[in-house]
Amino acid sequence: MGKFTMGCFSSLVGSMSLDFAVKLSAAAIEKGHKVDFWVSGNGTMLSIKGQRAFKDYSALMKPVQELMGKGLTVTACEACAEARGYNKEVTMEGFKRHSMDWYLASAFDADRVLHIGGE
């Protein structure tokens, strides 16, 4: 099994890319891989607790929490989050916050990397 690092710079609500990234993380974990998942830019919306799931919108908080329970490491760009007012107090439990150095270090150490750019 390998280590898979994925970065996503896309927003949460209505974002096909973030939805894709979470589902791919789930598939990789299911196959026994270690997954590091980095969200940056508007993708940091994923880190906020108390997200409400609507029928016709991508609702990723619950799947992400379940994946964290299965070993997913998910980290938000701290500067991107703070710039949007997503401070530590509104961050869901278990969701890490670091500088981009964390993503670079994880990617450097990974067996495979997928970088999904912004929209």
Partner: protein
Amino acid sequence: MKLAVFVSDYRLNVDTLDRLNPSKLGIILVQNGVYHATVKENGASSSLLGKNADYYVLKDDLETRGLGSSDIISNIKIINYGDIVDLIFKEYEKTAWL
């Protein structure tokens, strides 16, 4: 280098793909990129399908758009998320996202 390229949009500049020269190229159609596998314009398939590559399309993204295997217009393999993980780890060394 064995390269897997994710194509996530229908309207894109395929010149980017033309500049890539891997020893093995895989093109994975996801999100609105799945339309490359299903749409003909003026009777012609997407120019993206004319490359020396192995083609894949994500089943979930086809079905989300009301499409299926009968809509595929070329020799493209329909895959799921687990298959993508296997492609990334077993068939290709690097990935790119367009």
